[in-house]
Every structure is written in C-alpha cells, then in structure tokens.
Symmetry: C2
Subunit: 251 residues, 2 copies
C-alpha cells in the first residue's frame, strides 16, 4: 500500500470569488443555490486547493473542521482494519462533498486518486450561512441523504451479491455518475485501479479481472484499455446489477 504515503497539499491563494464564478462543478455542488443569490461573502471564505495523486488528505480519527467540495479529479474514502485490510467506502467525483462526521472527527480516511482540485470551507462558516439560507441548508442535507442512501445500497451489494453482480453494480454506478458529471453516455472511465475496485466491492483483484473478462466475452462490455470501457449491453448489465441502485436509467 505504497500509495498511502503522504504528500504535500498545494494551497494556492487565488481570487476565490472569481474561481467560484467560473467553477464548472458548481451545478452539481452543494454551493449551487448560493450562486443565484449574491453571496460573495460566502465564497471569499473558501479556499481552493490542489492535491497530488495518491495523497491521504483526511486521516481516520483526525479532527478536521472543514468541508471539502471536489471540483476536479477523483478520491477514495476508506477504512482500514488493524491488520491492514482496507475497505473502500466510496469514490469521490466533482460535486462530492466530504466532511460529514460526528463532532468533526472523521472515522475514515480520504485519499486522492489522481490530481484533485477541491474547495475547502470551514464548518463554522458553512453553518453560519446555512442558518441564514434554507436553500443551502437543504442542499447540504440532500448531499448527506444521498451519501447515506448510497451507503445502504452498498451494504446490500456487499451483503447479498455475487462477484458478477457486484461488478455490474459498480459499472452501472460508474456509468451513471460519469454521465452526470462528464456527460459520457456509454464510455466508462476508471480512474481507480483494480485494487481499488476490489476493495470497494469486497472481492479480490483477480476476481475483478476474471469477471471483467467474462463480461467482455459475453459481449456486455468492450475494453479500450484497462481503464476505459464501452458499455455494449446496458440491459444485461443493469439486470445483473439488480435492484442494487434504484433504476439507473440514463437520459
């Protein structure tokens, strides 16, 4: 797990308000409702950060009174058992809000997969504005509900599904988010490696690999390269993924 080594976080002090105005991730970020209102005061309190690939920027057990909104790149959140076994809880994409935790203490870690850009907000500041703006409060709650709901879907996958079903679920989910964030319809990009996928799905890399091969042989998907997939038969993929997520209809 060499990727767990820590690297520096590059913070650049830019004109945050201008950054927010042109932020391409705002339409699916928690701060969306504030862009309509004249909320320069809120945005100037934010800070833009860049994180190098493979950097753990939130540590399990640490006190951390910030929210992070991802604007570019991808992250993995995970828990680790004393003997090193790792479970990935979810992957973050642009629009993902990180920071829901009890008493500001995280009970999982978050690591960048590739180069990640994010906005940092102090919780106090967010709370302050949330108290004044019901829409922001609702937006935050929605993000949190969605996270809880996704966690429950994940629970179902890990508790009841076979390797084939798990991978199908993962691909459908990935397909859905990539459509939402990047507008890709049938192309699935996999910024994470096979270990990440296996640690997310509770199986091994070998099983992930074998199952990918099966899917390709069955004409369900085609590989452009190891990290890029074309969905050929969404119906069958969706059927395999079962009720894991509420019907992942796209478009």
């Amino acid at each position: 797990m060499s990727s767990l080594r820590n690297r520096a976080i590059d913070a650049s002090a830019l004109d945050q308000e201008a950054v927010c105005k042109t932020c391409w991730a705002k339409s699916f970020s928690f701060c969306k409702p504030l862009h309509a209102a004249d909320m320069g005061g809120f945005f100037s309190a934010a800070a833009s950060l860049k994180v190098n690939p493979g950097t753990v920027f939130i540590h399990d057990g640490a006190k951390f009174p910030f929210y992070f909104n991802i604007t570019r790149g991808a992250t993995r959140s995970f828990k680790i058992l004393p003997d090193g076994r790792r479970q990935i809880l979810n992957f973050g994409v642009p629009g993902t809000l990180i920071g829901f935790s009890d008493r500001s203490i995280f009970d999982f870690s978050v690591e960048s997969i590739n180069e990640v850009s994010l906005c940092r907000f102090t919780k106090d500041k967010v709370d302050f504005y949330a108290n004044k703006h019901p829409e922001l409060r609702k937006s935050l709650l929605d993000k949190m509900m969605a996270e809880l709901s996704e966690s429950y879907a994940h629970t179902l996958v890990l508790g009841k599904m076979s390797a084939r079903e798990r991978l199908a679920f993962f691909l459908m989910k990935q397909n859905k988010t990539q459509f939402k964030v990047y507008g890709e319809l049938n192309k699935i990009n996999l910024p994470m490696n096979r270990y990440d996928i296996s640690d997310y799905l509770g199986i091994t890399t070998e099983t992930v690999s074998r199952t990918f091969t099966q899917f390709e042989n069955e004409g369900i998907i085609t590989f452009i390269k190891a990290s890029e997939i074309i969905v050929r038969d969404r119906r069958r993929l969706g059927a395999l993924a079962g009720g894991g997520t509420r019907s992942p209809a796209i478009g």
Copy 2:
C-alpha cells in the same frame, strides 16, 4: 418471509404532552434538548403509536413525511432484491430515529420485531422547530451522522470480515447498545431471530449457528437460551470484532 405481511398500526390518541414528560427513552432520543426548554407546543404535535410484532410500517419506495422515534421494542430496516434476497441495514432500539430519506421517499423498509412503541412527528413540524432551536437541529444532525457512521462500519464488516469476525462485531455492537439503553453489562438479548442476524451480517443462519457454538465452546460466551447470551471473555470478543467499531469499551 411470512413476517413481511402487514398488520394494522394501533394509534392511540393520548395526552401526548404527558406521555413525553414521562417518556423513559427521552434521554437518548433526538427530542432530548427540548425537554429542558418549555416545548409543550412541539410535543403536542407528536403522536404515540403502537405497532404489533412483525409489521412492516415503512415501505421501500413509499412517500412518508414523518419521523419515527422508537421508545420501546426493536425494529429491522432492510432492502430486498427482486429475487427476494434480503439485506438488513440496521436494527432499531429505543432512541433510534427513523426517517432520514431523500425527498421523503424511503429507499428501504422498516419492520417491527416485537411490539414497538414509537412517536410520530411530521417532518414539517420538526423542521419548523429545528429552524428555531439550534440544539434540536444539532440533535437531528447527530442522529444522522451516527447513522452514516454506523453504516460505514457495517460496510467494512460486510466487505472484509470473516464469519467469526462478523458475529463478534455484531455481539459487541449489541452489547454496547444494550448497555446504553437497558444498562445490561454482560448480558446480551437478541430480540431478532437467526435469519435476521444472518441477513444483517451477510452470512447464512447455519453459519451464524455454527459460529455461536464455536464461541461457546471457546468460552467466549454462554447461552442462557437461544436469545440470551452472557459475555464471558469480552477481550477476545473485542479482538475478533477488530476495528469494526471504534473501541467498544463499556463503562
């Protein structure tokens, strides 16, 4: 799955304010902070309900603009796959708040295990008071955070742990909540049956049963009866449960 059949919900219109004043579950319920203030208006908006054993009182996919606070008994929340496989997401005990969901639509079902008493609050009413009382808002958020946090712990268990570890985790968790709610130190009560435990842990009843027997043979636990356990060696049980939950130290 005969237990999924629906039975009537008995609603009794009592003097709610009096009920709340003497509610034994209030010290660990979301409404706790309001008991200090003079909040008769809030409590009179609540309704006390009783639910017969084995009743699904919240249905996956249903619109349901209420919160339920459990005051007596136990519940199971679950998701079901099209082919009938069931995953239990969590068990509810007195103090558990049910109702966090996206746009008031539940994406899981909730069923009573034994006779359950609960308080029903309309979400509008709760929101109204939450806007005026930061402590109530915080209390609600805390419940939600705890639910998310527990779901993540559950994810780790289902994704990475062996049958022995899963059952140990379950027992430690059960032990911890029963201490908090009922003050029992080494006695664990199991209101749920073996199917529930297996569907919560992602294993089969047979495996649950075999593992229980192992634990008893190893001197870790003793059975009073099938639904009542004495913990003999919490150290070993905790070690097995690993980092599944943040150190389950009691007392």
